[in-house]
């Protein structure tokens, strides 16, 4: 495999508070190629902060440190805020959990997407409109003309998330960071949204960093899985081999899931071992 | 040395008790909550300055007879209009030879009296009207809030003027006028808070326990509205003091020879160019106390706001 799209080595994210320093991410290394990489963990595992750190979205007093953070030949650590802005949204895009908070409520959906396109390209207005309609169709919105003129409150949650994805994908990014993009959606809509992203990865060769708490979903959707616990990567494996996971934390998480297909008298619960926090993390790079 | 060690040990035991994560009684839980709130406030130096000013005001009011060098009403026409710094009259004297410092100290009593009376009437009335209107909804809400609007429509000073004109000048009527004009904003705040609280799950939960509306409003809704009302009251305090002073200045509040700060400015006005201190000293007092309440209110807002998620 050629050089990965994103390579991160020794990333740490810390937040100093009044009494102590909260270490949200502790010295993790991973890479994302033109593939679907799932980052799984429970709340507080640092998975969201990892995504935000790559995008340069950690604000002071948060501290980001890394030995290396390279995106397609560019050293992200050396970028100024201005240079970061030209990459963010253009070459690295992010989809967040709740579309309602990410869309401007007083601007039509179409104008927002078209503007996102115009910011990063020198396209004319009519060109941007055309591309927008194409994009809305690509995310399987049945009546793109109507949705183009609609305001965010006039569309459903599933539609809103598809619009967000259209907006993020219109500049044709190389890497998409999706933070729980579907957990607010119904299962069937969730599947449709994932299918769109899936097709983009396979057709355009985009890289995907899929942050989620849902083990089943990540196992069936992604190519590779990174499991985070207490700010560290405790395990990484092929998604198809997640059921063979070795680390007691991963095994514990898998065992605690209720199942549709077979009755379980009592779910096994996770006993957290303090040693997991001190053992060295796993390097999840594929070079 | 051992004495010191023991007192130190006792101190840290108290501290541990006050910051315990696992209080063992209702009383301790409440104390811990208060103490953490206090720590939050104490972190803010401006709020502490505000608190200090307010405490000085209270101290001055309580101990005025001990602190004041002269009787605030005693006239001495041989010592008229002495400048600040004159031996025996630190802040100078006014046109009747009364010691300004003594008058200011006794004036703190009047200011505090006005403030206390307003604080114990208007916010409580506002809180009750607002929470009941917000929780009950329907026609109760409509009637109560239209009433509030009527009072809100009058400018405070103008309505106060009308009241005093009708009832006659005097400190009691001034307080009544101020109280009657200052409750509507509290009702509005309390109602707005109640509307967001009303539909939350914890209110549904207590309704499902069979709690009566009265119990819900008093025990569950009011405590959550209280902090925003307290903050607003503290911030309004400056306005209340100024209104009282304004009424005094217009001769409709406290009547001479009472050493009310507004009235003092009013008389000092005649000498403002040559004997500036007669008006400036009470002005400075009003300014400082207003500032103190404002700073304290700002700090309380940061410390008490439930949304700041302490």
């Amino acid at each position: 495999m050629s050089a990965p799209l994103l390579e991160v080595e020794g990333l740490s994210v810390r937040f100093p508070t009044r009494n102590r320093v909260v270490e949200a991410v502790r010295n993790i290394s991973f890479s994302v190629g033109r593939e679907k990489v799932g980052i799984v963990g429970e709340s507080g595992s640092g998975k969201t902060m990892t995504g935000r750190a790559v995008l340069g979205l950690i604000r002071p007093p948060g501290i980001v440190e890394a030995r290396k953070m390279q995106f397609d030949g560019t050293d992200l650590l050396a970028l100024s805020e201005r240079e970061y802005r030209s990459i963010r949204g253009n070459r690295i895009a992010m989809v967040m959990q709740d579309p309602k908070f990410s869309l401007n409520p007083v601007m039509t959906v179409g104008r927002q997407i078209a503007e996102a396109y115009q910011v990063h390209t020198a396209a004319s207005r009519s060109e941007a409109r055309l591309r927008t309609l194409e994009m809305l169709e690509a995310v399987r919105i049945r009546d793109p003309e109507r949705v183009f003129g609609a305001y965010p409150h006039e569309v459903s949650g599933g539609m809103g998330q598809r619009i967000m994805i259209a907006m993020m994908l219109i500049p044709d990014p190389d890497l998409l960071i999706a933070d729980e993009p579907t957990s607010a959606l119904d299962v069937t809509v969730q599947m449709q949204v994932l299918a769109i992203v899936d097709d983009l990865v396979s057709q355009r060769g985009m890289g995907l960093m899929f942050v989620s708490h849902d083990l089943n979903l990540v196992a069936s959707f992604c190519d590779r899985v990174i499991i985070m616990y207490a700010g560290q990567i405790v395990e990484t494996c092929k998604a198809s081999e997640l059921h063979k996971a070795q680390h007691p934390y991963t095994r514990g998480l898998l065992a605690s899931l209720p199942r549709v297909d077979q009755p379980i008298p009592r779910l096994s619960t996770l006993t957290r071992d303090e040693a997991w926090k001190t053992e060295p993390g796993v390097d999840a790079r594929i070079l | 040395m051992t004495d010191h060690a023991i007192s130190h040990g006792r101190r840290s035991a108290w501290l541990a008790w006050l910051t315990s994560e696992t209080p063992s009684s209702r009383m301790q839980a409440r104390c811990v909550q208060w103490f953490l709130g206090w720590l939050g406030l104490a972190r803010n130096p401006l709020a502490m300055l505000g608190l200090a000013i307010v405490l000085v005001l209270i101290g001055a009011a309580i101990f005025a007879p001990l602190l004041a060098p002269y009787d605030p009403l005693a006239q001495d026409l041989t010592r008229r209009l002495l400048p600040p710094g004159t031996a025996g009259n630190l802040l100078g004297t006014d046109e009747l030879g009364r010691d300004i410092l003594s008058r200011l100290l006794y004036g703190a009593r009047i200011t505090l009296y006005v403030v206390a009376l307003v604080v114990f009437t208007a916010p409580i009335a506002g809180l009750i009207v607002g929470t009941v209107a917000g929780y009950a909804g329907g026609w109760v809400d409509v009637v109560l809030m239209r009433m509030t609007d009527v009072f809100l429509a009058f400018p405070r000073l103008v309505l106060a003027l009308a009241f005093v004109a009708a009832l006659g000048p005097g400190i009691g009527n001034a307080v009544l006028a101020i109280a009657l004009t200052s409750w509507p904003p509290y009702a509005r705040i309390a109602r707005a808070e109640t509307l967001t609280i009303r539909n939350s799950d914890f209110i549904s939960a207590i309704r499902l326990q069979g709690a009566s509306p009265l119990r819900i409003v008093i025990g569950h809704v009011m405590p959550l509205c209280l902090s925003s009302v307290i903050v607003r009251v503290t911030l309004d305090m400056a306005g209340i003091i100024l209104t009282a002073a304004g009424l005094g200045f217009l001769g409709l509040g406290a009547q001479p020879p009472l050493p009310e700060w507004g009235a003092m400015i009013s008389t000092g006005r005649q000498f403002i160019l040559d004997q500036w201190w007669v008006a400036a000293m009470p002005g400075l007092a009003i300014f400082t106390v207003s500032l103190g309440f404002n700073l304290l209110g700002d700090g309380l807002r940061d410390a008490l706001d439930p949304r700041s998620g302490r």
Binding site: M191, S220, V260 | T22, A29, Q209
Partner: protein, 265 residues
């Protein structure tokens, strides 16, 4: 569905509407269900399917309903009585929103006791805390000092204060991490056995329903599209296409299956 003596909860032709005139939402349409004493009944559906509204109508939190709801053979009127609250209690979805932020655990738990003049409130509170797996050290804490799972345990303890027979569970674990979800589900199953409770569990997660329940109803757009036993679900025998689709989607992502998805209104 005739009400027999072992029917704990009977719902017939329930309709619930919100709003007025043009804005009216017909959230629940002609729903009939019966829940037997001691069973766990699941209501599954996607958002907006009306599943939570059914629970809220039973609890008396949704007012504008028509039809018949009867608990233990007694028909409910528009107003709920004290006796009703002693029979039926509810656990809410969001443990962060269902506890009063300024009340200690102690106050939250003892308040229902005070309203209903229960004796030995102090002992009951300690007993309940032990029952839901929280030690006495939690008694005087505030919600912001508790984790999501601990809060949900407190909410469950509160629901048990009046020793109800029927517990309405509105997505009790959907806001929690999976490992915490397992703990709460285990707790609910133990409490059910110990207190001989009847559960009505609402969830969007088929696996939670399958794990917890004996029978279930699938709701879509305010209607019950299918009622079946969990065994039927396990054998993948749903008869309605909607249920089949839901089952398929809950098993994980499958690119080929997505194109076959239908919309049901």
């Amino acid at each position: 569905m005739p009400a027999s003596s072992d029917t704990a909860l009977l719902i017939e032709h329930l309709d619930v509407r919100f709003g007025k005139h043009e804005d009216e939402v017909h959230a629940v349409r002609d729903v009939s269900l019966s829940v037997r004493r001691g069973e766990s009944f699941g209501l599954v559906g996607e958002s907006g399917s009306g599943k939570s509204t059914v629970l809220r109508a039973i609890a008396g939190l949704a007012r504008d309903w028509t039809g018949r709801i009867s608990v233990d053979g007694d028909d409910l009127g528009p107003k709920r009585t004290k006796a009703f609250y002693e029979t039926v209690q509810m656990v809410f979805q969001d443990p962060y929103g269902s506890l009063h932020p300024r009340h200690t655990v102690d106050r939250t738990l003892s308040e229902p006791g005070r309203i209903h003049e229960v004796e030995n409130i102090d002992e009951r509170v300690n007993e309940l805390l032990r029952d839901v797996g929280l030690g006495p050290e939690f008694r005087f804490r505030y919600p912001h000092q508790l984790s999501g799972g601990q809060r949900q345990r407190v909410a469950i303890a509160r629901a048990l204060m009046l020793e109800p027979k029927i517990l309405l569970l509105d997505e009790p674990t959907s806001a929690l991490d999976v490992s915490v979800q397992a703990e709460i589900l285990n707790l609910l199953q133990r409490l059910k056995a110990e207190h001989k409770l009847t559960y009505v569990l609402v969830s969007h997660d088929l696996s939670v329903i399958a794990h917890m329940c004996d029978r279930m109803a699938v709701m879509n757009a305010g209607r019950v599209v299918e009622e079946m036993t969990v065994d039927q679900l396990r054998r993948a025998e749903p008869s309605h296409n909607y249920t089949r689709q839901l089952l398929k989607a809950s098993l994980g992502y499958d690119r080929a299956a997505v194109d076959a998805l239908e919309t049901f209104d």
